[in-house]
Subunit: 206 residues, 2 copies
């Protein structure tokens, strides 16, 4: 099912395939094709067939892909076939928006179990379904609950020390909204969300 | 200064170089090297020299890069050496967070000039420095002010029709937070922010 040799760029596209399959299923479709997926994603059908071929045989020539089956297989490959607990650090405006939109995470395999902040005025306050917990308790809770994934929504100046604490506590994957590049040990995954990076990338072409 | 032949993957890294240079300048440094930039960004120094070489000669062997000069040059290349007006569509939780953090945009070349929503309960309300404007007025305002860049923060079900209206009004670059792939005409740039795509990408490696 898996091969260590699959290029990361291929892995990066699998969540997009999964998302598009969910949309097709929501439209009532049960079968799709590499052509249809390609159209939706702005990729060639050959690219999609090649990407999926790294993991096995998911469709038959002429009959296309069974959407539900391909969804299941992609979830297995991406290891989101079980619920993944996620914690959030930072209960500011951005943290608020993330908690209030947590159903976007829930629907797609992630369960937001805790939100931490060090600001005494925020600790104990309720956002959506969660109460803001003192960051001091963060390492213990992460260890006790075996949380592997964290979202960082703190200012740039605190992001590296938060990341250090998270990694020390056992976090293996970090999604950071802070606009700095984090230093983490080998084996810890980090991805970034920085809207300005995307905006500046696009202005090049204006 | 520019060449059409520069691969998009190179362009995508330039904003990261610019961001890192700002951090180095904020630390009081005036000179840097491809080694230092590489360390901060998790890239090889050869990669950085190669990327920059597409645009000219920015440093001297042995003396490194003048940070302020390289910042200026990268801003010119990315066309963020002048202020770029941006409008936002969607005044929900996410839209709120974006407006309240607008200084993150301002500092890096983008000026948030308008926020639109179609919800009568939101229209006229003030978020930070902006009053929420009826989406009906959007095409006129975009045309009159010559806005080229838009951020979409509306639910997935409305995102495509919002994008169609934006493109029709003259928007050339869209940053979308809606978890769907948008169809836009050739020549219109689109980039996406979908945290789940990043999370699922990382869980593969857990």
């Amino acid at each position: 099912m898996r091969s260590k040799a699959v290029p990361d760029i291929v892995i990066s596209r699998l969540p997009l395939y999964l998302r598009t399959l969910s949309h097709l299923a929501a439209e009532g479709k049960t079968i799709t094709s590499s052509q249809e997926l390609g159209q939706r994603l702005g990729l060639s059908s050959a690219q999609i067939r090649k990407d999926l071929s790294h993991f096995g045989e998911f469709g038959k020539q002429g009959t296309g892909y069974d959407i539900e089956f391909l969804q299941q297989q992609l979830k297995k490959i991406l290891k989101v076939d079980r619920r993944r607990d996620v914690c959030l650090i930072g209960a500011g405006d951005l943290g608020h928006a993330i908690v209030l939109h947590h159903e976007m995470l829930e629907e797609r395999g992630f369960h937001l179990v805790a939100v931490f902040d060090h600001n005494p005025r925020k600790i104990g306050k309720t956002i959506g379904h969660l109460e803001v917990i003192d960051s001091e308790a963060m390492p213990t809770i992460i260890r006790d609950q075996g949380i592997q994934i964290a979202i960082i929504a703190v200012p740039a100046r605190s992001a590296q020390s938060v990341a250090d604490t998270l990694v020390e506590a056992g976090i293996r994957a970090i999604l950071s909204y802070a606009p700095i590049t984090l230093n983490v040990p080998e084996g810890v995954q980090v991805q970034y969300i920085d809207p300005v990076i995307h905006l500046q990338h696009m202005t090049y072409y204006l």
